[in-house]
């Protein structure tokens, strides 16, 4: 077996290899989002404040043959590429990013239906998620060696963690992270076949009687920078761990997610007492929400019962690969506006958590944003105002 050292690649532009570890802060200096509530952070914040779910009958394809026919679609959505270009440009402009050509792009992205329909034989290697990332980087003037993350519902949060690690370890001074998922019929058919969609048309995270998830559109981008002077917020901690339990179900004791939360808080230099809000993954499926509640209790101990928790998937839908970024935007908004978004659709208690059932003010400085995915993948982000 080959045992020779393998030199690490240097193809990712903007990376400064060989720098010693040093504790640099990771600031969010630009943030742009589009969801079923419309384009821009103000539209998302208005939707969250209203607390009314954005689900409506699907318009993008005939959905009458499926058991449930609603989703949270972005009004007037263009192609995924066009929507990604718009949010990346907006985030870069907000950050005042001048040196785009040396800035790396990490992209969490869902498989486009057009790619799936290409013939297998003779397929162009560029017809891939990576190819979309290259095209997006080129259109936005970013460095030409991007990477696409295809880790399902933790794609965006994993990209954020790698971007933050690149900055924290001195490998990069700034990174653009983008993610996008628009509801497709292919997804609808698969989630319907898997009986994962909420048959009653309502997402009820952590609630008694919860029946499943509903899909939504989400496209978002952030600029992360080292030691910025006036960041919107700081990404102060992050963690990730696997369950090693099942192909598609979370560990019922929440062990992987608990380790991700603990690692994230340790990296942020915080204890559970400092956490003022949790934006949960909270899909509204029986297995996920029970496991996530168990993870919160395992990681946060007695604090789990008093920290406000909400899953905003009940409002904007499950945006799959883009979840980590859209929900990061929700979390940033909660800290900046001092308003916690509601956990809509609640029928009655099932998980021992302090769910935000009505709009609530907060002076929290630190919040967690959690995501989980098939394969037992778990991520936790700590956002600090």
């Amino acid at each position: 077996m080959p045992d020779e050292p393998a030199g690490t690649g240097t193809g990712t532009a903007g990376i400064r290899s060989g720098h010693p570890l040093r504790p640099r802060s990771v600031g969010i200096t630009g943030l742009a989002v589009a969801s079923a509530f419309g384009r821009g952070l103000p539209a998302l914040e208005a939707g969250l404040a209203a607390g009314v779910p954005a689900f409506a009958p699907v318009t993008r394809f005939p959905a009458d043959k499926y058991r449930i026919g609603v989703a949270a679609e972005l009004p007037g959505a263009g192609s995924l590429l066009d929507e990604l270009i718009a949010v990346v440009d907006q985030a870069c402009e907000e950050a005042g990013l001048r040196d785009r050509g040396t800035t790396t792009l990490l992209l969490g992205v869902h498989r486009e239906p057009g790619l799936a329909r290409l013939p297998r034989w003779g397929r162009d290697p560029a017809a891939s998620s990576a190819g979309l990332a290259v095209t997006l980087a080129g259109k936005c003037g970013l460095a030409g060696s991007p990477r696409a993350y295809t880790t399902a519902c933790v794609s965006a949060s994993t990209a954020l963690i790698d971007a933050a690690s690149m900055i924290r370890t001195g490998r990069a001074d700034r990174v653009v992270v983008a993610a996008g998922s628009l509801v497709t019929e292919d997804d609808f058919a698969m989630f319907d076949a898997g009986r994962a969609l909420a048959a009653d048309g309502v997402v009820r995270p952590f609630s008694a009687g919860r029946k499943g998830l509903l899909l939504g559109d989400g496209v978002a981008a952030v600029v992360l920078e080292a030691d910025p002077h006036r960041p919107l917020t700081t990404l102060s901690g992050w963690g990730r761990a696997g369950d090693a339990y099942h192909v598609c179900q979370p560990h019922p004791d929440g062990t992987g997610m608990a380790r991700a939360i603990t690692d994230a808080l340790d990296r942020a230099g915080l204890t559970p007492a400092a956490v003022g809000y949790v934006n949960a993954h909270g899909t509204g499926t029986p297995h996920n929400d029970a496991a996530e509640a168990a993870a919160l209790h395992r990681a946060l101990g007695p604090h789990a019962a008093r920290i406000p928790v909400s899953s905003t998937k009940a409002l904007h839908g499950h945006v799959l690969e883009a979840s980590g970024l859209l929900e990061l935007a929700v979390t940033v908004s909660a800290l900046r506006t001092g308003r916690l978004p509601v956990n809509a659709g609640h029928l009655g208690p099932d998980c021992d958590l302090d769910l935000v059932l009505t709009p609530r003010a907060t002076d929290a400085r630190h919040a967690l944003s959690l995501n989980a995915a098939f394969g037992g993948a778990n991520t936790a982000l700590v956002v600090t105002a």
Partner: protein, 168 residues
């Protein structure tokens, strides 16, 4: 910083990889599981990996094109009005087979799937080097898999067990 490949194993490319329960239609997930088995067995023997190492081992899947065959199967069923099998939902994302590998071998480090724009091996080693430097893992099982897009050419799957530093 450098990384060291402790063990490399490649699926030989002849015939079909061993079937994997609950994964249908496509060779993608069976290839991942078989390459992982060959690599981990060569290094550790039968599963599971010793608990102290498994707890710090990341599982990384690198595939530029992803599961072409499963994606095409779903698209064809949707376009023809056919019924999609629930099993296609379970294998709809590349993480799913990593859940199988991690469970069988007791690997509880980070689970990551990427589609790199550059050289897949170099990108994978960059990725795990970053994980090691950030303290997210001390070992990484990297599986590189691509389904053939040329008739008569076999699918490819290679697995690497990687550690930090320049000495095995």
């Amino acid at each position: 910083m450098t990384v060291t490949v402790l063990t490399r194993a490649e699926w030989p490319g002849t015939g079909e990889p061993p079937a994997l329960a609950r994964f249908v239609v496509s060779s993608f997930s069976p290839l991942v599981a078989e390459a992982a088995r060959l690599c981990l067995t060569a290094h550790y023997g039968p599963p599971p990996v010793p608990a102290d190492e498994g707890a710090r081992t990341a599982v990384v899947l690198v595939s530029t094109a992803g599961d072409i065959v499963s994606g095409r199967e779903v698209a064809d069923l949707v376009d023809s009005g056919g019924n999609v099998s629930p099993l296609l939902f379970f294998q709809s994302v590349p993480n799913a087979v990593l859940g199988h590998v991690a469970t069988r071998w007791g690997l509880t480090g980070p689970v990551v799937c990427v589609s790199p724009a550059g050289d897949p091996t170099a990108d994978a080693l960059d990725l795990v080097d970053l994980m090691f430097a950030a303290g997210d893992a001390d070992r990484a099982l990297v599986v590189l898999v691509e389904q053939s897009t040329t008739p008569g050419t076999p699918d490819r799957a290679v697995a690497l067990l990687v550690k930090p530093g320049g000495h095995p």
